[in-house]
Amino acid sequence: MIEITDLHKSYVMGTNTLHVLKGIDFTVNEGELVAIMGSSGSGKSTLLNILGMLDEADQGTYTLDGTLIHNLNEKIAARYRNKFLGFVFQSFNLISYKNALENVAMPLYYQGVKRNERNEKAMHYLEKVGLAEWATHLPNELSGGQKQRVAIARALASEPKVLLADEPTGALDSTTSYEVMEIIQSINDEGKTILIVTHEDDIAHMCKRIVNLKDGIIIDDSIISQVRVKATSHV
């Protein structure tokens, strides 16, 4: 599903260049649930942003679902993002003046889905994350965990091939973190490919594979036995 080879990325700040990714080779198959770990500043977010086409690599190849991603102009990147990818951010990034349902429906608007169908689909995904009755609430009326579940519903709404999550539980306490992970596991069970950046060991162990970054290279990449989140009741 994802295949990258010899990926490099540097940030230029004035006269200094900071070489962040120093040759990453990495493959993810369909249906995997991968945790990306590593100390702060090791380049996890940078890697995920490149995978998500929010940022561009300096060097190396990136193939997503058989499509070589290169020479991206914003227009094409926008189409790929909309078609292939779903994002979940640490800081949720919901649009503050739109309610939960409208936020979830946003990607569908950009896919050109008609209003009624959009709302129907969005409602379906809100149900999936257990927030159907919060549909008309604005983000600031939701708890952190609820916001993140709305963000997940939004990421799923466009039916992406890959879900990318940068520290989705970073702003949450452990109980709500587990609720979010439970949803992620259940989505993964349905076959969706998911990559999660995390600092937390327990979160990482709820995935099926852990990739460890250090100073811009992968120092460890191993399949683990997944810890299932106890089935807790939603909400």
Binding site: E74, K75, A78, N82, N93, E102, M106, P107, Y109, Y110
Partner: protein
């Protein structure tokens, strides 16, 4: 533009960001409002000044006499100079090509007019038929004096509207006999004058009749002329000044008056006066335009600022929208669409409101020099479009930039 989904998205955004919308709208609407009111009052002043000149024909020359104050050619000061019919005859022959309408005036002081039980004191003047056009009088009933009246020494009068009201109320006046200083005159016409009541409380009769009936001999109190039109205002002013000076010196020479003795024989020409007013008017207009343009600039700057702030404030939202698949152009379009929509609605509201205000209060305003403030609709509507375009341009560049930066940078924005 005609994408219903886009419109729905815009309306939702506007509805949910009422304060932002309100502030943008307010600055646009108030800018337009101030401008329209300003221009309206500029126009009002122009109208007011123009009205001052409607009273009489615009290119009028008047000559009159008084007492000499300077010794000249052995003649002592203190002589009373009187014009004669011969002066008039010579003048109109000499300046035949320059003068359009001309009349001598013989004035009867203390002209008490009586009709049945009503009476009043009015200016009674013997004039030539041309005098109607020199005074800009228009008839509301009957006719003005003609040369037959003049040649036949007819005892006929034309009375001003005020005189008619005083003496006749609303009754028919034409054909009635009015006594002036005990002598009967037949009313043949009633006139009105743009100069208002003061100008309408006069009674005109044939010059010949007045001189004969009131023992005027061939004396003339003053003379009024209008000049033939010239190609440009400048030429008209020059011509008017030249002719009035010539007439004045001609008469001074004939009556042995020192050239500088203006209290013995003096002339006045309305165009010289008019020029002063027109110059003043040009200044006033210029002033209002400068203020108006400053207002537009302030409005443009205000709208631009708001658009910059809006886009800045929305950078993160733009990043989010891009992360979930928005095309750059759809983002630029969204922002422009919204800004044009809001500025247009607000602009037209400001326009309608200010025009309505002018429409309602305008006709009721009649202070000196401000009459019926109103505004040129094309100017106002152009201003609205200028503001809309300015808002769109001001929104476009930051929107374009925001739509082009990498979504990850836009997302970092807080």
């Amino acid at each position: 533009m005609f994408n219903i989904e886009r419109w729905q998205e815009i309306f939702e955004t506007i509805r949910k960001n009422k304060l932002r919308t309100f502030l943008t709208g307010l600055s646009v609407a108030s800018g337009i409002f101030i401008l329209v009111i300003l221009l309206g009052f500029g126009q009002g002043m122009t109208n007011g000044v123009a009205k001052e000149f409607e009273e009489d024909a615009a290119n009028r020359i008047v000559v009159w006499t008084g007492v000499t104050t300077v010794e000249h050619k052995g003649l002592n000061p203190g002589r009373f100079i009187e014009l004669r019919n011969e002066d008039y005859d010579l003048l109109i022959k000499k300046y035949e090509d320059d003068l359009e309408f001309k009349s001598s005036v013989y004035r009867i002081w203390s002209g008490v007019a009586t009709y049945k039980n009503e009476s009043g004191s009015y200016r009674v003047e013997g004039v030539y038929p041309d005098y109607q056009f020199i005074e800009n009088a228009s008839l509301t009933a009957g006719r003005f004096l003609n040369y037959d009246d003049h040649n036949g020494y007819e005892k006929v009068i034309v009375i001003g509207h005020k005189v008619y009201k005083d003496l006749f109320g609303n009754k028919e006046a034409i054909g009635e006999q009015v006594q002036i200083s005990g002598i009967n005159f037949k009313v043949i016409g009633v006139y009105s004058d743009p100069g208002g009541e003061r100008e309408e409380s006069r009674i005109f009769l044939p010059l010949s009749t007045s001189q004969r009936v009131f023992n005027g001999g061939n004396k003339v109190r003053n003379m009024g002329f209008t000049l033939r039109p010239q190609a440009t205002f400048q030429q008209a002013v020059q011509h008017s000044i030249a002719i009035s000076n010539e007439i004045e010196s001609f008469l001074k020479e004939r009556h042995i008056v020192a050239p500088e003795d203006d209290s013995a024989i003096d002339s006045w020409n309305s165009l010289e006066e008019a020029k002063r007013y027109y110059d003043l008017m040009d200044m006033i207009k210029l002033f209002f335009w400068v203020v108006g343009i400053c207002t537009i600039i302030a409005g443009v700057v205000g709208v631009s600022n708001i658009m910059l702030i809006i886009v800045k404030e929305r950078t993160k939202e733009i990043g989010i929208r891009k992360a979930i698949g928005a095309q750059p152009w759809s983002i630029i379009g969204m922002i422009l669409h919204e800004s044009i929509f809001v500025t247009a609605i607000a602009g037209f509201l400001g326009l309608i409101f200010s025009m309505a205000l002018l429409e309602v209060i305008g006709p009721n305003i009649e202070i000196d020099y401000i009459v019926n403030p109103s505004v040129n609709f094309n100017v106002a509507i152009t201003t609205v479009f200028v503001l809309i375009i300015a808002g769109a341009l001001a929104g476009f560049f930051p929107a374009w930039r925001a739509a082009r930066i990498k979504p990850i940078e836009a997302l970092r924005e807080e």
